[in-house]
Symmetry: C2
């Protein structure tokens, strides 16, 4: 935690390193080198070392990194030492998929409230939680200490949902609606836009013939 600006890309990669380390740890691997990690997530070894160097010195020269230790550090850096309850707006197919998404629970994220204003969905059960009307979201946010909201409603309703979240002091939003939300600067937003991802592919298919590389 220096007074240095840390590139977002570094955080993204750190998250990937962390998951790889979890995998290695489960397999009983004790030590990894920066090249091992690099190969595992598809970046350069120098990049791995630079990324880690933002946060401290975790390795041993001539040896590498202790898997368990580095895993622990990455989790701590990413703020994953405690669970993050989340509120989900939208109980459609996407919402259902997110609710049951294994990858979330594996990393300490859990959707503790699902909200929708479609009467045919309210009362339904997704996994082990029930869909509640949107108007119940504020109370849930406060009583369950929810800091992160997920928007998985159609574009039309997205800003409305965002506004409700904002009014109730949500700190961060993961938005799946393909529109630019109007969000104040003190609230974090990240968008997941599936069509954009596909269009990057079609562009490349069309103009570059075929070149690989994964910047994102």
């Amino acid at each position: 935690m220096k007074a240095v600006k840390i590139p977002e890309a570094t955080i993204t990669r750190l998250s990937m390193y962390s998951r790889l380390l979890e995998w290695l740890d489960r397999r009983g691997v004790i030590t990894v080198s920066s090249s091992d990690i690099a190969e595992g997530v598809g970046v350069s070894p120098a990049q791995v070392r630079k990324d880690l160097a933002y946060f401290g010195e975790f390795g041993t020269r001539g040896v590498g990194y202790n898997v368990k230790d580095l895993l622990h550090y990455t989790m701590k850096i990413l703020g994953l030492t405690h669970p993050w309850p989340m509120a989900l707006a939208g109980a459609g197919n996407l919402g259902t998929a997110l609710c049951t998404h294994h990858g979330f629970r594996d990393r300490g994220f859990s959707i503790v409230g699902v909200f929708d204003n479609d009467l045919t969905k309210i009362g339904k059960r997704i996994g082990d939680i029930m869909v509640h009307p949107l108007e119940d979201m504020p109370e849930a946010i406060h009583s369950l200490g929810i800091k992160i909201g997920i928007i998985a409603v159609p574009p039309r309703g997205a800003q409305e949902v965002a506004d409700i979240m904002l009014k109730n002091n949500i700190a961060a939003i993961l938005n799946f609606a393909p529109i630019a939300l109007n969000i104040p600067d003190n609230v974090l937003v990240r968008n997941v836009d599936l069509s954009v991802k596909l269009e990057v592919l079609t562009f490349n298919l069309k103009y570059r013939g075929s070149v690989a590389g994964e910047p994102d």
Copy 2:
């Protein structure tokens, strides 16, 4: 189409401009300025102009851009003048969500084959298409001229699915499995990793207090 390298971020934004233009066009808007576009997608006007400049001169000085024309150009640049049939592997919740995802069809993408090797899913109907066994995928890829594959299976099965796609000359893969796929350089891959997105949020919540900005 110059001999200039075009930043991936430019393509990402182009895709967003394109969708905004569609929206404006449907509303009967005739002309937009770079500032209008910039505001609509949350970037700077200079950025919009730079991005467009990679591909030509589409505007009129002192006036702006013709919405219909620019929409047409962006679609063409992105390779969206013809439909892109896609094969989906994985008929779980995520697969189902992707199948019924409106945003795809709106932009010319359509999933024309869904494959899974879970016997309880094969034969099921998602929307208007049926889930087929994974072994039927090769034939579908060839007979339907599929160039893009989507992987929405659990991490364990992802590489296997990828290998099948590769063996059948898929040109691009959109991967939702949170692992680094082993893919040759001549095949395009983009990963959608939901946990990573969330961990970027938790990192920022923890260390930056609250700062906005959407780099991705």
